[in-house]
Symmetry: C3
């Protein structure tokens, strides 16, 4: 609704947007800013159209509209490809698709295969025999170890590591003996991995990350983990070895999953929860307790150590009262 | 008090210091080592002067005195600047202040501005249009992405990442659609960031870290977080998107803050606490329970799942007793 | 037991192994796959020999046998050394043992000493005066800061950092003053450090990691921590400053140890536990509570805040019942 000839130069929040910017209403908590917005136009759901003082575009899912629009302003998309920088070290037998860019100081080792328009950022290392699908982008200083397979349109953020060794040792009663980690890592299409995250290679079989899996920063995924398609893992998540997470799961920040578990499709785990048993029903799961004032917390936390005793004493009292 | 001509070659603890070293008493738990110290001199509070068997310097805040003194022995301060290493790749249009050092294999991209005496360590990458203030130092293999602004005297430790994408996706009911992260990161003056930490760029607006904010290793700061001046974040802290932390806050190791919260000035959160609600009163906050022997813990932890039931049964019993 | 002339080309799980592969039974949960295995041979304990349909090798510790065997297939062991890559920057005064390999884009600074057959991966930086023992391997993009000592046969995975500054500041009532971190880091022999982990240098004395200590990915070890021989730390562990962990300890994923603690030999801490007091008895320790369905959790978690009140009310009721 409005002036179709208006020119737009960018995106901004409802509060900050000026007449040359588009804003959006994706969340009811922002509705209060709608009345006063100075935005050039607003993306919103039809039910809020009547409250909008400026031009607007009605969408069933305005947040999705914002996502599509945002990518028009992505500085990486507008950029011409940089080609192979003269300081990059690229093995003679590496196979490079059309329009590949390899940044300064990057290293592409023997047997590597890079699909069309792959971008390898400055300082990245891609190890022996790894394959990266078309239009994937590695931001600076990423390490992809040997024998890793990455699908198309992956985005790997800076200083993440794909394919470091899993944590496997046998103990002889006195000391540890390393188990060579002979599996690889397979990432599907449209996977994103955040800064400084690590996905370890499998012991014998591969560690497998499905299609459209989104992984935030500071995440640790141990050897032989499987993550199903479309799942999302927030920052600081840690998943121990051989655990299988289904499709369409969402793990909140700092969640920890113990090893050798099975988490079914459609499970959501809230922030900093510890999961030590498999989950067979979709739904929302939680553990822990929220912060309170330290003085109050001290009194309650000390009682946690008496909890079994409290329960037993209560049962005894109940019995006595029933008898009485 | 003592011999002003004594020559000192270094700093050490009260226990280890020899006649050519200075030690300090910053904490009552070290007092017991004072009587037997062989240190050349000791920094201490006037109230402990009488217990000191060697030369000493009385200070109101001896720990602060130690901090000042320690920096005289910092090996980086004594070093002559290395200039621009011939293997560094520096864009022609980058603007470099006086006395800038750029280490081997580093990359400084187009439009970057480096203040006087900035040091860019080996293997670092500074992305397009980023600005770094005077006397800041990047240790090896740091990544500063595009469009990041860093104040003066910052210290960024190895392999940390400033300005990776925030974790933003819209869901269409079936799959994720990336929201381009168009904001930047702004770090104030005197900020320190630990090894392997990540500070993500904002979605539309910037992620903002105030002046004199100290951030330890393995920390994750999500998009659009604000941290107020003089706050300190210990190792493994994770802060979810859009949360605002006040000034003079201290977050213990492993603390997690949920997204979209407001934490007022002067809040201290103890280690590994989970904060899911805003905090409007300064003070100390905690959650969780400390470790105990596993056998004892099992008995209590299982009761946690019965806690609501226990509370209801207790209330019923109380009522019955009052009636009886 | 079986055909000693059989040729084996690799290792696989009981389920996946074909006639040219060896499998193993290290864990009772895999026993059910033994009957149907198509493996060329199986490593197993004598007590399972009768259930094995194919050739087998009886071992007291078949998992240890698997570990030894796995290393025959390690792709790094078969590889010829690469020598010093022409793009590596190696200080003139660095002392290199026999058979040292330094990868492309790596930096070895002044005063560094590398033992025989050390491998420095692509993009690694080894800082001034650090020493690395014979046969140690640094995977790509590792940072070893200045003045670090690493023993023999160390394995450092990609993007980990050894010797970043510890987190030390003095407060003057208004702002922070950095304490120069003048200690180093000493790693014993046979230490492994996972991807993106960080071990900080000491304030005055060194941070010390014993022999045969195994450290997983995303781990943070703060300044002046000591870890005893043969201890193992799983992913995402965080240890605060000056804490001493004994020998033969095992810390589960995400465990947090507060600062200035002493943990005796032979302690095992289960995943995501918080340890705030020293531990003087060997054994297994735990904290926290496991995840449950969110609706159930909400009801119980809110009661945690009433726990002290519940305990007091219970005691009162008990007293009243005894009196009555």
């Amino acid at each position: 609704m409005g002036d179709g000839s208006r020119r737009i130069s960018g995106l901004a929040t409802l509060q900050d947007a000026g007449p040359e910017q588009i804003a959006f209403v994706a969340n009811l908590s922002y509705l209060k800013s709608l009345n006063n917005t100075r935005a050039g136009a607003v993306l919103l759901h039809p039910e809020h159209a009547s409250e909008c003082p400026v031009d607007h575009l009605e969408l069933d899912n305005p947040y999705l509209g914002y996502a599509h629009l945002s990518r028009l302003f992505d500085p990486f998309l507008a950029r011409p490809t940089g080609g192979i920088h003269p300081t990059a070290v690229v093995a003679e037998d590496a196979r490079l698709g059309v329009g590949v860019e390899i940044g300064p100081q990057a290293v592409v080792e023997s047997g590597v295969e890079l699909g069309d328009e792959v971008v390898i950022g400055p300082g990245c290392v891609v190890g022996v025999n790894s394959r990266i699908g078309a239009r994937s982008r590695l931001h600076p200083n990423v390490t992809v170890c040997h024998g890793v397979t990455i699908g198309e349109r992956a985005i790997l953020h800076s200083n993440c590591v794909i394919g470091g060794d899993g944590f496997g040792f046998a103990h002889d009663g006195k000391r540890w003996h390393k188990i060579a980690q002979l599996g690889g890592v397979v990432l599907g299409d449209d996977v994103e991995v955040g800064s400084c995250s690590s996905i370890d290679r499998g012991a014998l079989d591969d560690t497998i990350i499905g299609n459209d899996v989104k992984i935030d920063s500071q995440v640790q995924i141990a050897h032989n983990v499987h993550i199903g398609d479309h799942s999302a893992l927030a920052g600081c998540v840690g998943i121990a070895g051989s655990t299988r997470v289904g499709s369409n799961c969402m793990l909140g920040g700092g969640v920890g999953l113990a090893g050798h578990l099975t988490i079914c499709d459609g499970v959501q785990v809230t922030g900093m929860s510890l999961v030590t048993n498999s989950i067979h029903e979709p739904g929302v799961y939680s553990s822990g307790t929220g912060a309170m004032q330290n003085a109050q917390w001290r009194k309650n936390a000390v009682r946690f150590k008496q909890l079994d005793d409290i329960a037993r004493r209560l049962a005894k009292l109940e019995k006595r009262n029933q008898e009485g």
